[in-house]
Symmetry: C2
Subunit: 209 residues, 2 copies
């Protein structure tokens, strides 16, 4: 998860750790905050796998020369990033992962985007039903504060589902415009997306066993 975020950010421009963390925490906004305790080990791991290079550019143009390690994405790193962005499996619609995935939708294939949004919505609908039934079945067993907490939680989930539905509709409209029925006649279509980077398959399940 952090791996994806780091690679995606580095794909825009080389950066050092501190900057990386700052960006991470602004881009993901409310969702998640990363700590150094995970960032630096992750960077080292990425360097070991040669997805990034770590240039200890002491005193580049700067005077004093405070040590700062600049990380740059390699060709393998770009490949790796493409692979990760191409995945649309169940793990992508888990709470935190979804935030990261969504933040980098700009770099993600349209089909994968749709798949992730729908998967996420499905996950939340499950949750919603669970809370709903728990709320109607056992209403009298809880005091008013617990009840209020659950009511509020339920509303949050409902709101989230509405948001996703809107996004999905927008996506579908976009796709419909730029990419009509992918199989058949294709009358007067504009030059269209070059078939997702990797297999997508039926929206059912598979991947990440």
């Amino acid at each position: 998860m952090l791996e994806l975020a780091v690679l995606a950010l580095l794909s825009e421009s080389p950066m050092h750790g501190y900057e990386l963390r700052k960006r991470l925490n602004t881009v993901l906004g409310t969702f998640h905050r990363f700590s150094y305790g995970s960032l630096y080990p992750c960077l080292r791991k990425l360097a070991a796998e040669s997805y990034v290079t770590a240039d200890d550019s002491t005193a580049a143009g700067r005077l004093g020369g405070r040590s700062r390690v600049v990380y740059t994405l390699t060709a393998e790193g770009k490949e790796r990033l493409a692979t990760l962005l191409g995945e649309g499996g169940p793990s992508s619609w888990e709470d935190e992962m979804f935030g990261v995935r969504f933040a980098f939708f700009g770099k993600t294939d349209a089909a994968v985007r749709l798949r992730i949004l729908e998967g996420r919505r499905g996950r939340l609908e499950e949750r919603r039903e669970k809370v709903r039934s728990a709320l109607t079945r056992t209403r009298e067993r809880f005091d008013s504060y617990t009840l209020e907490l659950q009511r509020h939680g339920l509303e949050s989930v409902e709101r989230e589902v509405r948001w996703l539905t809107e996004l999905i509709e927008t996506e579908r409209a976009e796709t419909g415009r730029t990419q009509p029925p992918p199989t058949a006649v294709s009358a007067g279509l504009p030059p269209d997306l070059p078939a997702a980077p990797q297999s997508i398959g039926p929206p059912g399940a598979q991947e990440e066993p």
Copy 2:
């Protein structure tokens, strides 16, 4: 955090681990799920500190006699619970802790309740301002998806703040009704906290250093 939740639940009735976990996950609803990996160690710790007793009541009234360990709150445990419930410090309005605290508001002193709600709201207002400024300052630096993510996050926080404000108003109304001006003149100022079970001091900071 788990400690508080477990003690609070056990204060209602003795229970075994499995049941405890189920309740935890329904009571806290959307907020947080606990796993056995944290629950059982926590129970063992509580038993070691003699806040609970662990009775291995094999075959109590039941036939076969599947091993089940029933945990019961001790007198020390009740004290400990009261202490924890009396705390209203900054840690109480941290994301996850707040959920737990709120779920057990029914057992919490009115003054502490108010304090926690206000603290929580303050924390969220801070967050809101941060996201807001980040959103207006750097609007053009992000692509539309990142922007949408932040916009949605901001709305969530705003919604949360509104919810808390409503709760606070309700609480204040209740307090005003059941407990009129405790001290003196108090011209127009809000009916003030009646010196919580333990020192509260100025609403600024302190506690949990």
